[in-house]
Each structure stands twice: as C-alpha cells, then as structure tokens.
Symmetry: C2
Subunit: 280 residues, 2 copies
C-alpha cells in the first residue's frame, strides 16, 4: 500500500511528561521547533500562524488551553467556545506536528503561587478594562515557553498589545525565543477573525465590520476618533472601551520619537467585546 | 615546561554575548553546568556552594551581581561590600570554571519593565520588612537562569525563605533546573557566615553569636520566643524584625500537616541587619 493510504496522525499530549516525550521525538536530528499558543476555537487566523511557523521551523507545536488566569470572574471563561475535535482536524490540515492540550491542573497545580507582572506596553488600553489580563497571559506564555522550549513562537497582530507584552517579556527575561507577529486575517467585509465572533447574532454580525471601517476612516483622516465613536454607537455598538492612536513599539502616547503608529480599539456589540487594530 | 607552571585562569564574562561564548565552550562534549548566583563578597559559605556544585556537575558558573532590584532605597546597596579581585581568586581556588560579572545595564536595560511576583513562601517574614525583596530576587534569578541555562543551581540555607521562593518559582514556571539547598556555614562560635558580618564592630561581633545560641535554646525548649527576644535585646541587639517558627516547606504557620519545622529570625545589631535559621 502506498504511504498516502495511511492518514497522518497528529501527535497529542495532555500532560507534561507526554509533552516532553513527544518533543524529544520531534527534536530528533536537531529539528527546530515553532510554537503557536492558542485558546482553541481555531479559525483561519490561527491556521495562518501555524502555516507560517511551519515555513520557519522543521516542526510545529500548537497548544490549546483556555487560560483561567487571564479571565476576570465577570468574563466569558465558562462560555468561551471549545471544539477540540474540530481544532485537531484543522491543525492536521495545515501540518501541525504536535498539539498540546494541558488541563488546568497541569498548568496550575494547587500550590501554584507565581505571576509575571509587566509595566511598559502592558499599561493602559486593555489593562484599563482587564487589569489582570496581561499578567495572566505573560504567566501562562512563560510556562508554555519553558515547557515547549521552542526556537520561534508566532502570535497574531489581532492581539497587538499582547504581542508587545510577549515581546517585552521575552526580551526582559532573556528567554532566547524569536517572537514573530503576523498580520490580522479578516473576513471579506473587513471583520477581524476572532473566536468570539461566534457570539454575534446575525444582526450584530452585519454591524461588526463597521469597526474596521471606522479605524480605516480615522487612519485616512475622514473621521476623528470622537466622530468615529459617535458613528459607531449610532450604528448599534455599545460601550466603547477605547479607540486610541499609540506608538506601535511602546504602546504609549505618540511622541516626536515615534517611528510607527498603531490605531487600537476595543468596544462592545451586544454582549460581545470586540478588539481590532491597524497600522496608522 | 610542565603544565603546572601555567596557572589555571578562570574565564570571565561581563556581557551577555561573552557569557554565551564562554558557556558554549564549557558545554563542549555535553558537559553539565552547575550555577551559583551570588552578590560577591564571597566567604566560605559561598565557596561551599561552589564546591558542591562542582561535585554535582562537570562545570561550575558563578555570577557576581549586586542586584539593585532587591534593595529598598533605604537599604545598603551603595555600601554593600565589593571585592572583585578577591572574589575571583577565591573562586579560582575552588575550581569555578566561569565567573559572570554583568553590569546593571546588562541585566536591566533602560526599557526593562518586567517582574516576577510570588505569594506562598514569599508571604510574611522578610516580606513584612522588605516588601520588594523577593520580587527582586525572583526576577534576577529568573534572568540569570535563562542566561546561563544551568542543569543545577545551588543556594545556601542561610537565606532559607529565599531558597523556598526560588524553589517555588522554578516549579511554577517549569524552569527545569534542579535546585539544591546547602546547610549554613558558621564560625566556630556559631555565627552564620554573611557578607554583612563585615559591617560589625568588634563589640557587635562579640554579641552576634548570641542569635544562633538563642535559636538553639528555643528549639531545645530552654527559652520561649518571647523570653529569647528579651534576652537578645538585653545582650545588645536592637529591633527584632521577627523570630518565628514556621512550616519548613510552605513557610506558613505550623499546622497539623507540617512534617518539618524551621525557626527563622531577623534582627538588628547596631546598623547591621542579621538573619539566621535552624531546623526546629
């Protein structure tokens, strides 16, 4: 029988010892490892990260872990979309070599007492509305990095502030991992792909692309941030957490030293919080 | 000329690239690396750690860095004893292979924004008097671990709470480094070796051993903690920050689950703060 008759079976690990064993096998012959940490509910944006990691490294590891440390008690931890079988099939389709599916007790045993805290790019924007978010992200990403020990890790620019925080953490702690950011993947109408788009009703889904349109209009000088906010709320959006033009490197205020700018937004549409950002 | 005519020259690195180059040379042939992080002013207690690391690993790296992050503005950062030439000679005498002497800007470039924070063993005791201490220790040790990537790191039990904090951090972040604690080395009269003993006047030096004697008397039931405090102050000690009996694993209160206890103390003698601890 030809090899093609035997379907490629993606390796899976649910515990740290299983992960270590699978990684040792993957690393045979000095293979380089690319890593894409995710919370599952994978869409084409995630798959673009995996494909890019595969183009940079010999092997690709993807983690799926809905990290309780980055959710506030009021947030959507319990209803965050989960589709493990679908996720694994999608990862298999893009050549992921190993999927790591730790349970909460694998990452946070009951005596877990540590946290990473950042200032710099973690200040403001998301942190004004989700104070523990980046500490939770940095802590879990640091753990996953130490467990997987990748050469390269790939993150989406959709979570632009998160990408900046991860870059700062890797630099500050001398983690020796190359961090790659990938442009946001969008629907044809401009809506940034997000696992949380699944929460939108058909009516909300029709309104949602206006966020990206508004960001482009601000970038192009057709709207001010304030007029854009008024238009978005008239179109059906709820609370606008922020729309802000920032230095793309520091995520602080734009200064005379700024060489690259980013326009970032977070706002509510019904019970769903959407974020997006573009170069500006 | 015989080899013995050429004195062994300990390798030194002051920058991260120099460290990486020296480490690559040390690791030739798969040699294992033991690591002893210090703040210099090395005494026989430090040298015991280096000797033990050398017995466990093929090569030993020692760092000397007086870490500003773990000193409060009111503390003795500026007058902390420094003796680089003497330290290097002492390290050479015990077979240390590489000494890493980073400057402050190597470990904390101006855009440095990250910190590790711990609860658990970091709560109480030292933290009640030095609130930023363990965050500073954990942050620098984490960086040094990532820079050196040792197999084993050796710490003294003199800083017992620090040892517990480092163990928790390594466990929580899956750092994959074996942490070894070594018993405190003492003078013949019982005084725990400490770089800060150099601050003591001859009169204070004569009083200092009474701390260890008091801890032994409490352990053996000859004194209560309260009567020991009274006797120590009558003997010439100043403020007593704490004398406390704790669970040796959690550093929390002793409970019915406690299997091992530790008696820990910190107090002032003139302008010098002394700490000590013993099993109890």
């Amino acid at each position: 029988m030809p090899d093609t008759a035997k379907p490629f079976e993606i390796a899976r690990a649910r515990t740290l010892p299983a992960l270590k064993a699978e990684l040792a096998a993957l690393r045979t012959g000095g293979a380089t490892i690319g890593f894409v940490p995710t919370m599952g509910a994978l869409h084409d944006g995630h798959l673009a990260l995996v494909r890019h990691a595969k183009s940079l490294c010999d092997k690709v590891v993807v983690s799926i872990f809905v990290n309780p440390l980055q959710f506030a008690p009021t947030e959507d931890l319990d209803r965050y979309p989960r589709d493990e079988a679908g996720d694994i099939a999608r990862l298999q389709s893009v050549g992921c070599d190993l999927v790591y599916l730790p349970t909460v007790d694998v990452l946070y045993p009951k005596n877990f007492v540590s946290r990473i805290e950042l200032a710099g790019p973690a200040l403001g924007l998301e942190t004004d509305f989700r104070p523990q978010f980046f500490s939770g992200v940095a802590t879990v990403v640091s753990k996953l990095f130490n467990q997987v020990r990748p050469d390269v890790a790939v993150f989406g620019e959709k979570d632009f502030q998160q990408l900046a925080v991860v870059r700062a953490m890797v630099r500050d702690f001398d983690m020796g991992i190359e961090i790659i950011g990938m442009p946001t993947v969008r629907e044809a109408d401009g809506l940034a792909l997000s696992s949380r788009n699944a929460y939108l009703s058909p009516e909300e889904r029709a309104i949602a692309p206006k966020l990206h349109q508004a960001l482009e209009a601000i970038r192009d000088g057709h709207l001010t941030i304030d007029t854009a906010k008024t238009e978005l709320q008239a179109a059906g959006f709820g609370q606008i957490d922020y729309i802000a033009l920032r230095d793309a490197d520091t995520l602080g205020e734009v200064t005379p030293e700024t060489t690259s700018r980013r326009l970032l937004a977070a706002l509510w549409l019904g019970k769903t919080r959407l974020i997006d950002n573009i170069p500006a």
